[in-house]
Symmetry: C2
């Protein structure tokens, strides 16, 4: 009524798509169908809706409200997804494999960019497909080398792969976005002729400034929020909502400050998530811990699902260059070759520095090679290239990128579970094995309910036990870690400075929880959070 | 990095404003300062930020990202606020006073529109102030008659007034927006000359269609969601997040469908909130109940706070007609007179139909007269009037509306707590009386912690007792209600059709809870939600 009807009709259609996607996803999980993911369903539904809108003639601004909008993606959809992944990240495999992740993200993406760029240039030179200047090919190599954290999270989280593999794949996908964006910008500056040969050195230093700067801003947001909640006097259940409102503002602050300073918002908000989970979360009331965790889980799930619908909508609403299927074919070939040239040599390099027990084994390498999924990140960059690149090359790149994403999500994504099984990678089936629950008889339910109180009591006993185990483990850890410098800095100065009670150690609690679960990211379970926050609160209170 | 820096700098400033507002609000509550509200603080901070942006020359599109945007307000900020108020509404005082609320909202707004319109026309005619044609005056009367639910929620919720007064004030403010919008549109159609004298009759029927249509769409969203969660097989803790994602989509669907059909999204989402709390919530898992409740509480609190910052930002970024302070003075005079002409006669009318015990007493009438707060709703309509009205009248109306909002929020809002005390309206002081908590000594905290487990056990015992009491009360209620037709329809057909267990009655549980609390809206307490959902789950399970 108040705005133009176009807006409300567009939003209505998008919400209906979301509802249908969630219901489809729910049915797929119940029927144990793993070839089609929720992400695939979202993509297909989006395409269909976009087709209907286009068929209706795109009258009166529907395109403005329905089509993929880079700003909406970067400022609203992406931040909660990346923050949540940082907040719920299992720190041990991530930092334990940090060197390997950086190798894949930095050197790997460099190989991928040049690999794809050179191959596409050669294919063009041989007149096998659409020909572009070398620098344009290189910019394409950069933008399409960004493996997508949203797609990776969406597909690997549902499958539940082994923790190390998940850390490689997810860590690479988050960090290489920054690399891809910086590479893309550098190549652009060469195309526009604004830099001389010194540009390469500039690019390298630019990249390190970007990475270190973004990391620092994220960590600063964590430190500031930890101090606010340590001294702010919020530790009261009844202030849970206000406390939570304040907490969720800090990651957005980190993201936008980094962005405003031309750094990487993604890297910044990821490390804000990690730092805040480690230093800020233990300073919050148990209410606020629960509320913020579920708030971000929800926001992230909604954004993640919507991203695929949004890409789908863009398919027929963006101007495309459809007669380039050959180019798409060669793009996919190049990507696969470049991925091979990235994963196996880099794995060999990493393995040279690792003891036998920690080597990336053959099957993990195959899985890594398989998991270079492309998604919204590449799509957003490709849309930007339409305005950035000369002679309409951008439209060709956009169409090729879009079709590559379809190939990634529908085909590679759909095959992932089977591939992982084939490779004998630990795979727990669809999230939470909820298949039969809807069909449980009422007697079964009654039985479950009767068992519930027993289970609760046991859980409490276990919790106390876990606290004891935790103490022992942290004691051992302290001894073990005492020789590394960051740990000393952390235990002696950072934690006492930032935490209301330095013994509230999220990572240690996580480690204890790990013993009873195989999931790389803890499944979306409120009960766990309850235990977590209860034990945290218990710990904090017991010291007062 | 990815978008224009303008966007990220603007968002950064807005987030910093939000952080400062929350911290200021927290300090104000701790220091028991009640003259300045969180809303006032937000407004002032917004004005200051707007001034800085303006002083910096509004370069490069900052205005686009910082200035009040009607679409962002109507499609993103408003829906969660109104839904949350419906979801957390105490049904008894609302429906118990529904006749009175409708009288104030419908007849009262009509009186207010004509009162302000005629007075402003006369003031212009006497050359006391800026003169406008009668129909323009009437359109101003309509747009400024919308008392604002956001302002009312923000100020009255913090104060905790008596339940009936809260129901009048809040109910009126939500429903009269629809009236004001329809009146405004009708007057506009007279100005543009598209309707004949039959227009009045058209307007009346148009209004009823709008109201009934919007209500139906909201109720339909409630019914559909109730059925989805009754039969969808979601009743599993581990699906809490997906369940919650689906739940929150329905109110947005109701809002946008109503909007797309040119009905009132506000009325629709309010009734979606009420229906969904009553029929859908009991069908959800206890996890999803907690998650959705806190999700909407947070989203609503963030939006509510941001609305005032947003209005403040608009002050110096919108084109204004500043040399009209006289006009503003007469506007405020007209508003006060029209409010008096609305509240006292309507109260007298309502009291004629009420028994002695239920009459709106004198002090409540004064408080009602006092509480006609204007806010974002009037602001958004005034901004629209700039394009709607001829001869630049819109700029004068916009400035007058803005200054009236300042008067409302800063002065009337600031005086509300004292006025209510003076009128001896039950007032519990600032939300949750958290003043001393931050300063508690550690010994006190220890004591509190030790008492905690005892309290928990007592709470459980009380819960069982409450369940028994609830059964008795609902038995009595059933007998008492059996003569009214909706209750019979509800108990015999609607509840068995829509609820997994028809005994899960949110309103009855609420009534039981009421016995132990005075707050009109239950305070933002997770603990209460725990009890609520626990007892609901207990009840549901015990029947299986």
């Amino acid at each position: 009524m108040e705005g133009p009807d176009v807006a409300s009709i567009s939003i209505t259609i998008q919400i209906i798509m979301l509802v249908l996607t969630f219901i489809t996803g729910h049915l797929l999980r119940r029927k144990k169908i793993m070839v089609i993911h929720e992400a695939s369903a979202a993509l297909i539904l989006g395409v269909l809706a976009g087709l209907v809108v286009r068929a209706s003639g795109e009258k009166g601004g529907f395109k403005d409200w329905m089509n993929f909008n880079n700003e909406f993606f970067f400022y609203f959809l992406l931040p909660p997804i990346i923050f949540e992944s940082g907040w719920s990240l299992n720190l041990k495999p991530f930092f334990g494999n940090f060197g390997a992740i950086c190798t894949f993200a930095f050197a790997g993406t460099l190989i991928s960019t040049f690999g794809i760029g050179i191959l596409m240039y050669l294919f063009g030179l041989f007149k096998w497909t659409y020909s572009m200047p070398f620098l344009v090919c290189l910019s394409f190599g950069a933008l399409i080398s960004a493996t997508d954290p949203v797609t990776v999270l969406s597909i690997f989280h549902e499958l539940g792969t082994d923790a190390d593999l998940y850390a490689y794949v997810f860590g690479e996908s988050v960090l290489n976005d920054a690399v891809a964006i910086v590479m893309y910008k550098t190549v652009l500056s060469f195309i526009s002729g604004t830099v001389s040969n010194r540009g390469v050195l500039q690019a390298v230093s630019f990249f390190f400034i970007t990475f270190v700067g973004s990391f620092s801003i994220g960590a600063l947001a964590g430190v500031l929020s930890a101090l606010l909640f340590k001294y702010g006097g919020f530790q009261d259940k009844r202030l849970g909502i206000i406390e939570s409102c304040l907490v969720v503002l800090f990651p957005y602050l980190a993201y936008n400050v980094a962005d405003a300073l031309e750094l990487s918002g993604i890297v910044s908000i990821l490390f804000a998530g990690i730092t805040m989970k480690y230093y800020t979360a233990p300073n919050l009331s148990s209410q606020a811990q629960k509320i913020t965790t579920s708030f971000f889980q929800m926001l992230s799930k909604l954004s993640e699902t919507f991203v695929f619908i949004y890409i789908g909508l863009g398919t027929f609403l963006d101007k495309q260059s459809w007669n380039r299927f050959g180019f798409t074919f060669f793009t996919i070939v190049s990507i696969l070759i470049a991925r091979t040239l990235n994963v196996y040599p880099m794995s060999a390099l990493i393995n040279r520095f690792r003891p036998e027990s920690r080597k990336i084994h053959r099957n993990q390498q195959h899985a890594l090679c398989f998991s270079g999924l492309r998604g919204a990140m590449a799509f957003a960059l490709a849309r930007q290239s339409v305005t950035d690149l000369p002679s309409g090359h951008g439209y060709v790149l956009l169409t090729a990128t879009l079709l590559t994403i379809f190939f990634s999500v529908l085909l590679i994504g759909g095959m992932t579970s089977y591939a992982l099984k084939l490779l004998r990678i630990e795979c727990h089936g669809p999230e939470h094995e909820d298949t039969e629950i809807g069909e449980r008889t009422s007697e079964e339910m009654e039985e479950i309910v009767q068992n519930q109180s027993e289970v609760k009591n046991k859980a409490k006993a276990k919790n106390t036990e876990l606290t004891k185990t935790k103490d022992k483990i942290s004691e051992k850890l302290r001894k073990f870690k005492s020789d590394t410098s960051f740990t000393t800095l952390n235990t002696k100065y950072l934690k006492p400075f930032l935490q209301a009670d330095p013994r509230d150690d999220a990572s240690e609690i996580n480690q204890v929880q790990e013993q009873s679960q195989h999931f790389p990211r803890p499944p979306v379970s409120y009960e766990d959070e309850d235990n977590f926050s209860e034990s945290t609160a218990l710990l904090r209170n017991s010291q007062r």
